[in-house]
């Protein structure tokens, strides 16, 4: 025990909150002062630690898993700021531990960036890991997506209880072969939905969708219609199979979600499979489904705000598949659209990714304002898809003002990269109610 480092860390956390500063600094301080802090705080939880990683959907999926488990009566610790480096976890812990560094929780559910997760699992082997997908993203950090796959393999290998894998992503499903002892649980999609969620090989140039996986999934997303979804949960008595014809082995569950976006709905299958893995036979199914239906979007991820009496939606876009699914999830007609692209470290510096997204769906209505540090790269991208752009303004506050005043009577949607999303939220908080996430 090192009460001093906990107290110092808590003091830094308070000071940096007063300053309105970053969420990770106190974590960095306590990591330096007391490298064993995190491991001690997270050891001995009744249900252990769940690590959620992968390219897309980490924040929203983590939020879902947390709320599903809370709905089952568990006390859950999580890092809900989306600060998904180990120091972000340490910072979140500082807010929750007592002065001796002890955490009062049944389970920790942690979103971790792929590279940081590898560092984290060396300190704290997770009991469960949920690995969502491997898609081209931040290649300026990871080099190649095959390298990212190897990071996820390391997380899976360190997991002691069960690894929950996306059956539809061949890079993720392939990780099963390298798992020494833990159980493997899959979540998946009905064949009719697979073209909606292309894996990285299918983004461009692939001559069609690969054959359906023969792996057995614990939870399958069967149908999606707007915000409604049907999930197939494997039965408790019979073995689940991937074959829809063996429907008797599954229980079909209809859910009306508050979450928007098809990508979130697929990740709901991942969250359900994870909660079922944690609780096993003890899971209360009706409460599980009720909790899922009640989950609100995470901040900036399809989050809906109100500006001058009109809805304004923030859709975080970080990589080609996320941007594609974002465009596919939200109908542009009758809605004003803004796109804000930054190239700070957290966004990725390479603009190549914009060229792996199709913007044809915006062609009819056009884009009202393009902004961000790389506004002109984005405007150029749209020009090559024949999408009309009404204004280009790299300065975000000025662009936001123009966007809101120029479209007073319309609902609005802003597609934004990570740091652009933070800046937009900060600016919007001056004129409307924006939930503070800390």
């Amino acid at each position: 025990m090192n009460p001093l480092s906990v107290l110092v860390g808590k003091a830094v956390r308070r000071a940096s909150k007063l300053r309105g500063g970053g969420s990770a600094l106190p974590g960095l301080v306590v990591e330096r002062l007391d490298p064993g802090f995190m491991g001690r705080a997270l050891t001995g939880l009744k249900h252990g630690v769940v690590v959620v990683s992968g390219t897309n959907g980490k924040t929203t999926t983590t939020k879902m898993v947390v709320e599903l488990l809370e709905g089952q009566g568990l006390k859950v610790f999580t890092n809900r700021t989306g600060s998904n480096f180990t120091r972000g976890v340490a910072a979140a812990l500082l807010g929750e531990v007592d002065w001796r560094g002890r955490l009062d929780a049944d389970i920790a559910v942690l979103e971790l960036d792929e590279a940081h997760a590898v560092h984290f699992v060396r300190l704290v082997p997770p009991r469960y890991s949920l690995l969502l997908n491997v898609l081209r993203d931040q290649l300026d950090r990871f080099g190649e997506i095959d390298a990212t796959t190897r990071l996820l393999e390391t997380i899976a290998a360190a997991t002691t209880g069960a690894v929950i894998l996306n059956r539809e992503d061949p890079r993720v499903a392939g990780i099963a072969a390298s798992i020494p002892t833990a159980d493997v649980v899959y979540f998946g999609l009905d064949a009719s939905l697979r073209s909606t969620f292309p894996n990285d090989d299918e983004l461009r140039g692939a001559a069609g969708i690969a054959p359906a996986s023969a792996l057995r999934a614990d939870v399958v997303l069967d149908q999606v219609d707007g915000n409604s979804a049907v999930f197939l949960l494997s039965g408790s008595t019979a073995d689940p199979t991937a074959d829809a014809a063996a429907g008797a082995a599954f229980e079909s569950v209809h859910v009306d979600l508050r979450l928007r976006g098809v990508y979130n709905i697929f990740n709901a299958a991942a969250a359900l499979a994870t909660a079922r893995a944690v609780l096993g036979a003890a899971v209360a199914k009706d409460a599980l489904i009720a909790s899922l239906a009640a989950v609100e979007p995470a901040f900036g991820r399809g989050e809906s705000l109100v500006v001058d009496g009109r809805a304004l939606e923030l859709v975080l876009v970080k990589n080609p598949s996320g941007f594609r699914l974002g465009l596919k999830s939200f109908d542009p007609s009758g809605c004003a659209t803004m796109i804000a692209i930054n190239d700070n470290y957290a966004d990725g510096r390479d603009m190549s990714w914009l060229w792996d997204v199709d913007f044809d769906s915006l062609g009819l209505d056009g884009v009202d304002v393009v902004s961000g540090v790389r506004a002109y790269d984005m405007a150029l991208r749209l020009k090559y898809d024949d999408v009309p752009v009404r204004a280009v303004e790299p300065d975000l506050p000025a662009a936001l003002k123009e966007f809101i005043s120029g479209n007073a009577d319309l609902p609005k949607r802003i597609f934004c990269t990570y740091t652009a999303m933070l800046a937009v939220r900060r600016d919007l908080s001056k004129i409307t109610k924006v939930e503070v996430v800390s």
Binding site: E144, D146, D201, R204, S352, L354, Y376, Y384, D386, P394
Partner: protein, 246 residues
Amino acid sequence: MPNGTAISKGTIRVLQLYPREMNIYGDWGNVLVLKQRLTWHGYTPEILEHNAGDPFPDDIDLIIGGGGQDSGQLVIQEDLQALAPTLRALAEDGFPMLLICGLYQLFGNFFRTHDGGVIPGIGVLDLETRGGEKRLIGNVVATSTEFGDIHGYENHSGQTFLGPGLAPLATVTKGEGNNAGDQHEGARYRNIVASYLHGSLLPKNPAIADFLIRTAVERKYGSFEPGVIDDSLAEAARRHAGARPR
């Protein structure tokens, strides 16, 4: 669209090499730029794909090839070697080609990997590549007398060295380019433009796109009549890119 009613000045067939394996880092952007600029210049683009095992089409006008993961390069290796004589003959004949990153390396003599293995290239370009300890990653600005400043983004672990008779595409003023030693970026041979730069390369460097288009059209139709294209967005994107940190 002004081209909707105009009579096409001719058809240009663009072949994309190995789009399945060699298409990472926005290589599609280069194909799209050729396709759209051909249209805006008044020509009709046709985009064809060549994947491993496909018969190689003989009525094409322009070749474009991109980067891939190490695993992807192994998949195409055999097919590329079989095409080597055809591609060498086309190159010597002045056929326009754009080669980015992975295929730039494989059009050279060989790639000596980090652990000492040798991946043979097809020897179209007199250059060799050695696997490096550290990846060269970041924004690049390189200058060339032919195309002016070239803006892009590099992300490669192989370090490429040009043979004595082979000219670089440009001289790096920000970033590394071919390797961490000399200031060379890319290679320029007959009507081949080869480069490590993503970004994608052609959107922000329309001069290179128009060189490839002009060459393809002149070879096929004798002369090139360009259309008028407003490149002000590309100009602005270049200014902003040039001001960004490495």
